[in-house]
């Protein structure tokens, strides 16, 4: 058999039509020329073909259709005509005069002409009345709902041949046309069983075109009658399609994969041979991933469905896989490069996954082991580490010394990873002089308590730590005052974590810039609570590191004069954390001093973990947060995250506080 496509033209626009799907660059003529048709007819004759199958578009639109058909009959060949059924009376007359036993007509039940519940298109009805006894119906299934048994009613109504041909709308050479996706095959199969049942009741034979597979049926095709079961699972054995320009393709869905002009001496067998390489090359591909291991396939009962649908499974998706230069086969889990560092600890790996919810770094307060055990039981997976100053006298932590009666026990039990602070705002001595003491103290700590992570306020110190302890996680402290993308860029290759400056803690655009510039993780302190850009900050932290007692905040007079400034402080309430979602990798809770009370500690931590509402005076932290009960509404807080920080000219915070302030004793 061979198909001759006389034209691509058709008045209908069925969205699944394969004929319309040929690429524009095929440059096909509107209609097959007489010469080409004669050549094609001759090709079929010398190939021993007995039946000519004419299709299109709509083949009856060819200006010479009657004479073409006459030539087919004169050549002693039979004719099978594929048509949409809409044709002129003269064409019907022409077909009516042809010998009945040599002409069969397949009318494609196009959706627009055969709508369930509506009258049949008048021209098609006219064709049926005149030539019904030569006409079989065909139906292309492009959706599960498209398989409807209402077309079966036309067979008896118009005396059509009791035969229906079903086809699946296969993918097209042009990728963007609708087709029946294989994942919908099962749904079609279920409806097909009911359709076949109905057809059987009406005495109508059903034939299946290519591409039906056993697995689309509920019982693997075993519920089908043997004759029908033999029609499923077979791989397309190309009936070559001869296009209007005389070129040949294996089939329309595979038009892109192979098209050529046969030599004058070729016959169909030789043409099929040229397509056989195409047949064989994708033999291993099936329409489903399951095809590779399918028993029906291995038994030869199924060849894996439509080849075009199978080829369509091949995807081209760019990817890049990065290996650090220092990843060596002998030590696969630890890298020593300046950039990413991973360990075998899945918790560490999880921290790099920005799709994972951020975890928390929490302060050490001097409480018995039971306090920490309870925290671990209740919150462990959400907690990343506990931070505390590096024990010993090597260097200060930027705060007055805190009680440490339970510290040894806490460190010994290793309930949590520990993050040591080596972050005085200014080192008490030049780095070269103090570095040996710091290194010794860190080495001792590592030896006794395991791998450390370190937070430091000095970039030079960070570089020294990096060289000496390549596997240590290094965080740039909030006191390093990193606020710009250039500063963040300088940290790349040295620090793993960046705690943004209090200047930008409530500045989402600035935080986004930091994130773009910094390769590591962003950790935000939720209650640092200093005034952004406070001019007294550095001196205050220096004094805090010098004295035993906690000195007064140097910003107090400023806050007394302008209490609304407290609304601009570097703090965020639990119920507003979501504004930072997607921007922050880790959270930090401050409070080595302010959260020493265990009940308050747990209450504040729980609220932050569960994002339940609190008021600013409840969260502790630095000085610049409201001291009185005050509801911070989401709209207001959100506004302050993107405002231009021209507080001297703005009255938003001032008015907010004035409107909501309640006179209560300071807590």
């Amino acid at each position: 058999m061979a198909n001759i496509s006389l034209t691509q033209h058709c008045p209908l626009a069925c969205d699944y039509c394969f004929a319309r799907s040929l690429p524009d660059d095929f440059n096909l003529p509107d209609f097959m020329s007489r010469a080409t048709f004669d050549w094609a007819l001759h090709l079929l004759q010398r190939s021993g073909i007995r039946q000519v199958r004419l299709l299109g578009g709509e083949p009856t639109l060819h200006p010479q259709f009657p004479s073409l058909v006459e030539d087919i009959i004169k050549a002693g060949l039979d004719l099978m005509l594929f048509t949409n059924g809409q044709m002129s009376d003269s064409i019907i007359d022409c077909l009516a005069e042809l010998p009945t036993e040599r002409v069969s007509i397949l009318v494609n039940a196009a959706t627009c002409l055969f709508t369930a519940g509506s009258a049949l298109d008048p021209s098609v009805a006219g064709l049926f009345r005149r030539l019904g006894n030569r006409i079989a119906l065909g139906l292309n299934i492009s959706s599960p709902a498209g398989l409807s048994d209402h077309i079966l009613n036309h067979v008896s109504r118009y005396g059509l041949l009791p035969a229906v041909r079903l086809g699946l709308a296969h993918p097209h050479a042009a990728a963007d046309r609708p087709f029946l996706h294989p994942r919908l095959y099962r749904m079609v199969g279920e409806r097909l069983v009911a359709f076949l049942d109905r057809a059987r009741q009406l005495g109508i034979e059903v034939n299946l075109d290519c591409g039906f597979v056993p697995c689309m049926f509920p019982n693997g095709g075993q519920e089908l009658e043997p004759e029908l079961a033999r029609q499923i699972g077979r791989r397309c054995s190309p009936i070559p399609d001869i296009l209007p320009d005389g070129s040949v393709i294996a089939c329309f869905p595979l038009a892109r994969k192979g098209r050529f002009r046969p030599d004058n001496g070729d016959d169909l067998a030789e043409i099929r041979n040229r397509f056989s390489a195409l047949e064989q090359s994708f033999e291993s591909l099936g329409i489903f991933p399951e095809c590779a291991a399918c028993r029906a396939r291995s038994n030869g009962c199924c060849s894996g469905g439509c080849r075009a649908a199978a080829i369509r499974r091949l995807r081209q998706q760019p990817f890049t896989f990065t290996m650090s230069a220092h990843d060596t086969p002998s030590d696969p889990f630890v890298t020593h490069g300046p950039n990413r560092r991973e360990t075998a600890d899945p918790d560490r790996l999880a921290a790099y996954d920005r799709s994972a919810p951020p975890r928390w770094v929490i302060p050490y307060v001097d409480q018995p082991l039971t306090f920490w055990q309870q925290l671990a039981d209740d919150f462990d997976p959400k907690l990343l580490s506990v931070y505390l100053p590096l024990p010993g006298t090597a260097v200060g932590s930027g705060r007055p010394r805190q009680p440490m009666a339970h510290l040894a026990e806490f460190l010994e039990h290793r309930l949590f990873p520990v993050n040591v602070l080596v972050n005085p705002i200014v080192l008490p001595k030049p780095l070269d002089k103090i570095w040996p003491d710091i290194a010794h103290a860190l080495r001792e700590f590592e030896r006794r308590h395991g791998m450390v992570s370190v937070t430091t306020a000095d970039l030079l110190l960070a570089e020294r730590i990096r060289q000496e302890f390549p596997d240590c996680t290094i965080a740039a402290s909030v006191l390093m005052d990193i606020a710009t993308s250039w500063q963040a860029h300088l940290l790349n290759g040295v620090c793993d974590v960046l705690v943004p400056s209090s200047q930008v803690m409530r500045n989402l655009p600035a935080l986004r810039e930091l994130r773009k510039a910094f390769n590591g993780r962003i950790r935000l302190i939720v209650n640092e609570a200093c005034l952004p850009g406070c001019p007294y900050r550095r001196q205050h932290f220096f004094e805090m590191g010098q004295e035993e007692a906690l000195p007064h905040s140097l910003c107090e007079p400023l806050l007394k004069a302008h209490p609304w400034l407290r609304l601009t402080g570097a703090w965020v309430l639990p119920q507003h954390l979501h504004f930072y979602d997607g921007l922050i990798d880790e959270w930090k809770l401050a409070g080595r001093v302010t959260l020493q009370d265990p009940v308050r500690y747990r209450r504040v931590l729980s609220a932050y973990l569960a994002r339940t509402p609190m008021q600013p005076h409840e969260i502790g932290g630095g000085p610049a947060s409201p001291l009185h009960p005050l509801d911070i509404e989401a709209d207001f807080f959100q506004q302050t995250l993107t405002c231009d920080r021209r507080c001297q000219a703005c009255s938003v915070c001032r008015e907010y506080m004035t409107a909501r302030m309640k006179h209560q004793p300071e807590v």
Binding site: P144, A145, G146, L349
Partner: protein
Amino acid sequence: MSKLPDSDLFAVPLPKGFLLFSPRRRLAVRLNRQALMVLFRIFVAGDHPSGLSPEMDALVAELSQPPEQVIPSANTAVSPPFLGLITTRACNLACAYCAFGSRTSPDERMPLATAVAAVDWMAHQARRLARETLDIHFFGGEPFAAPEVVDTAVLRGRIMAEQSGLRPHFEASTNGYYTADQADFIGAYFHAVVVSIDGPAPVHDRHRPAAPGKGSFDRVAETIQRLGRWELKLCLRVCVSTENVASLEEIVSWLGHTFRPSVINLETLQPTPESVAAGLRPPDPVEFAVHGHRAIRRARSQGIKAVYSAAEMDGPRYTFCPVGRDTIIVSPDGQAASCYLPRWEWKQRDLTLEVGRVDGANLHVDSRAIRRVRRAAAHKPRCRRCFCRWTCAGGCLVNQTWPGCPHAYDDFCRQTRLLSACALLDAMGDSAEADGVLTDARAMAVLAEHADDRLENFPTMAGGHG
């Protein structure tokens, strides 16, 4: 003819007549009161009237056949239908009605070794049971919030399936809120996926925000579109509340046209403290039945299967959910149980659903525990009198039919009864009668509240007079 040892004959009152339903014989037929009385006399009173019509004779003969045994015997070998892996209880959404507590669940992730041990165990079971596939289902929280665990289990599963002569089969229940890369990985490696989407953006985002004030619809819709380009079976799950029940038919139609799923599952909201705080409520059961049935029909016309699981009529069962089906579901902490709900939920019902534990590199399953769970799942005193006994099978054991639960019908029962009756009528080709039920408030009330559907109760039954 002997009396029925276990009630498998139910008479459900309709506006006109009754629906005789024998679930374990897979038989349903509409009868009038007189015909039912004849059956009552035969099967309950032990009478043998003569002069029955041929149709009645045939029906009696069919009902005299022994019913299908649905509850596995105590000696039946343990046969888990699939391995469930809860990769994490955490979730990256903040759904207002989450019954898993995922918004505040710990971010604990299943260790990779636990996942491997569980997969290896299931491969061994599948081989032992001469299965064709190695079935692994992923749950959460959001299972893809622990992607490394999923990847490990999938890749291990593929290797073990190959070694065992099995085909891998992976399914996941997911929120769809992730990157295109992740969606493509699922499309390439999974065989079925259930994605939750509750309607177009306004209602979906009301139900399922990513965070307070932030919707998830755009990304979820994009994920579903992306998944639809792959070969896996695409199922959509819709949670129905008062917010979307009235537009359920339109929602289902829109889902069908937009995403072309294979199945749409309709579920009603289970109230939680969070859902109450968010102002979300389950739909009125009658309203849900009316709109749900219309939605199911609309989907059918599009060639899509829409289901309300409790009213699925494709065969009798003794349990609604994985519990009692020998299912093994492994949690992040390595415990194996029959249920994927958090442990505290069963505990508060005094249920023991643990069946094993991962210990090092091995999953140890206690077959006695599995058999105990089977018995618990099969014992449903609450459902004894309800015609849905062998189809709904009591709904969720933990939330609906726990030991000692009250026997009175609740809204779940009412909507299930209404939808089950209409599903039966539709399957019998009697859609007109189904419509008659759903447009008759009194008939619905009678059907929904009918306390005892068993044939032995028939003489006292009201309704059915038309």
